[in-house]
Symmetry: C2
Subunit: 215 residues, 2 copies
Amino acid sequence: MKLTARTEFRRLPDRGSRDPEIIRAILDAGFLAHVGFSVDAQPFVIPTLYGHQGDKLYLHGSAASRTLRGLEAGLPACVTVTLVDGIVLARSAFHHSINYRSVVAFGTARKIEERERKIQALRVIAEQVIPGRWGEVRAPNEKELKATIVLEFSIEEASAKMRTGRANDDEEDYALPVWAGILPLRLEAREPVPDSRLPQGIRVPEYVLRYRRKP
Amino acid sequence: MKLTARTEFRRLPDRGSRDPEIIRAILDAGFLAHVGFSVDAQPFVIPTLYGHQGDKLYLHGSAASRTLRGLEAGLPACVTVTLVDGIVLARSAFHHSINYRSVVAFGTARKIEERERKIQALRVIAEQVIPGRWGEVRAPNEKELKATIVLEFSIEEASAKMRTGRANDDEEDYALPVWAGILPLRLEAREPVPDSRLPQGIRVPEYVLRYRRKP
């Protein structure tokens, strides 16, 4: 990942990072990305699942999807992943903030044509969303593979931005009788809801029961 | 909100909607948006907090922010809000999906110059993130207002997209011995972490203790 003006940090340099380990950890922890591209100067931002491996992100969707067809054509794209960690409650309105981690990645996407690579990329996406699932389910058949576009997005350049830790109030505001602190937020799984057509005796798998996003 | 080709539904029309009530409910339930804009054909997608009121979204940030300065210049923008509701576990890899709700809104932003409108917009953003907070904290002073850009994004056109409900498997797959169902996901608050410099006797407010995102 090279560095250009696209990921220069103009503001709050302490919140920005180009450390590949930090970028990797954020991309590993998420599963939802927002993909941006432009058609005739009109920007589009589309939410999509992704899988991360090395400096690649894998995206998939219907062969009829306008978004994927646009990306497949090699449009410059921006893929952003954001994890919300908490609300920062300061004494002043001004110092309120969000603890978060995000990665903004620039690059272009290419359609994966080769059958085995396509299946492999689908596996990476599935395992990113719910590790352990892929090996249990019926693999895609030829018709399904044909109906699915899988894109490989090569990260040419990426940067992370984050905020962690406590509220930073102005010194004179610490005396105010206002509660301050962090309200941690986290994407949590609730109780699994079994399908109504489940044959008898099929237990909820451990990877579903113990589902937890990586912090 | 008018309708043009930008929000035409090409695929899965059952998942798309232009119903203003559905769009409003999704925009009210979120607080994090991904804003897209292009500079010299390079798309950028930036996460940001927002406040929603009528057909306006309010965004704010530092007066030094490159993103806000770009948007303020009237670039065409796309603001997308996505809420993840659960993982859809089907018997086949192909029919796996995510239950979600999202809104893609197109429009342009304008800087709010007038002092009272600016404060009002900041209040809308704060109340979207944590209702009840604004009235308790020190209001912004003149210096802070000067250091903050507040943008009003007028939604010219918007569409919602969502998936709800159970997995839809192929008929022959229902006999497979694979657990299927929904794993609900939700952004949940954990226990508040009080600031280390909190004066004695200040209790955690109810709106923090009972914090819960609107479903």
